[in-house]
Amino acid sequence: MVDNTHQDIDAATGTATTGHEWDGIKELNTPLPKWWLYILYATMVWAVGYWFLYPAIPLPGGHTAGLLGWTSRGAVTADLQDLQAQRAAMVGQLNKSTLQQIAADPKLAEFARAYGRSSFGVNCAPCHGSNGQGSVGYPNLTADRWLWGGKLDQISQTITHGARSGDADGHEGNMPAFGKDGILTKDQIGQVAAYVVSLSTPTTADVSAGKKVFAENCAPCHGDNAKGNSDVGAPNLTTKIWLYGGDKATIQETLTNGRGGHMPAWGSKLDPATIKALTVYVHSLGGGQ
């Protein structure tokens, strides 16, 4: 903004001044660099083009839609369709094939494991661990020990309907609170806990009292041999693999207050192909039967 009526050249620099003067000091009117100015003009032209091409100006009846018809929802939907198209061939095969067929076909099984692994990382890893190793209260999926069975169809059933999830077809069955509900006395709980510890850690101590309590109270679910029953989710008690801990204190805690972890039903959240892929992936973690 130069006031041309006050055109005045500064003697020292040869540059025009703006005509503003403060206590004898004049302000130089140094022009903007040409390259900078042209970039500024170019962005202005770009902005006008943008107004016409993309949704831009709010109006009383809506907004200008733009010549390209771009919408953020349309863009993400198209992106997702591209993704689906990319995977369509393999996912289509997953949808068509039974779990057994998928596991038997090396190429399809490899895809299912890769597809399942990425879904596992997002949905399952927070409880079962990034490699399916589990943690206290969340089953290890790599250990060849299964609460609800480790066959492909059983794993699929568990993923789809969950456990104690509220789903009508989900697994039900709790470890009762033998202590809290007064089914067993504190002494009996101590005895049976000692017996259960002895199943995986042989001892010379006398655990016959606990064995008797076990036969009457625990065997209906865990079996006479304590090897568990995957129909009711009763774990095998004769190995060193423990969901909540195998020391006597933890077992007493389990007996006293009961247990019953929740596994959400994923059938309503994941599509069938993803569940198939997850099943094959989980089955391949090391423990599949």
């Binding site: 006031d3 661990g129 959240k269």
Partner: protein, 244 residues
């Protein structure tokens, strides 16, 4: 150049300049923000969105108090990678009863907009008590004290009244039943839960771990987390009806 001389009035009187700036900025604001309040295409009504139950609201207050939004966003953007990881992109309507909204802008932890129902209550509690017990690499602080702090919901009705002033449809009836509703939502086996679900569709009752001492802050926070993103049924949602 006579216009230029008038401009000198602004340059020489700071108060006039200030008023001038205010007017110019206000015009910009009115043009950019004003239409958003009446444009039909920007206000999307979505079935299923409901106000928070009193317990969820109390949990939300704890979420805000603890500054969860500093590390967790609640906004799934309409980008392929986000939709693949977190689920359907967030709708503005889903946070229409949030005052203030919890969209956030920082993701040290994952987005929580659809975390509801993804994990079990036990997982949420265990994770709040000690995040590393379930996610070994987590940098989240422990919030174990929430499980030991009794929930203070003495003012939950006032909270709801304030929100009602801001346009959340809390009726006098809902406000009157607020304290009973807090307890009902923590009694999964109680018949009062059915009434609660009538008032707040899809509300889920949670077992309280507070025992005799009454509900804890953790109970409320878990109830809030477990409902996030669960109210809209996306099988019924027609995105094309409001393409934008």
């Amino acid at each position: 150049m006579s216009m230029w001389k008038h401009h000198a009035i602004f340059e020489k009187n700071s108060l006039v300049l200030l008023v001038g700036i205010l007017i110019v900025v206000a015009i910009g604001g009115l043009v950019e923000i004003g239409p958003l309040f009446y444009l039909k295409s920007t206000i999307e009504t979505v079935d299923g969105v409901r106000p928070y139950t009193p317990l969820e609201l109390a949990g939300r207050n704890i979420y805000v108090r603890e500054g969860c939004y500093l590390c967790h966003s609640q906004m799934i953007r309409s980008l392929r990678d986000e939709v693949e990881r977190y689920g359907h992109y967030s709708l503005a309507a889903e946070s229409k009863y949030d005052h203030p909204f919890q969209w956030g802008s920082k993701r040290t932890g994952p987005d929580l907009a659809r975390v509801g129902g993804k994990y079990s209550d036990d997982w949420q509690r265990g994770h709040l008590n000690d995040p590393r017990s379930v996610v070994p690499g987590s940098v989240m602080p422990r919030y174990g004290f929430l499980a030991e702090t009794p929930l203070d919901f003495a003012h939950i009705q006032e909270d709801m009244q304030i929100l009602a002033l801001e346009g959340v449809p809390y009726t006098p009836d809902l406000i009157a039943k607020a304290k009973a509703d807090v307890k009902a939502q923590l009694s999964p086996d109680d018949p009062s839960v059915a009434d609660l679900v009538k008032r707040y569709p899809k509300a889920v009752a949670h077992a309280s771990l507070g025992g005799e001492a009454g509900p804890t802050e953790q109970d409320a926070l878990v109830a809030y987390l477990q409902m996030l993103g669960t109210t809209v049924d996306f099988k019924l949602f027609d995105a094309k009806a409001n393409w934008r």
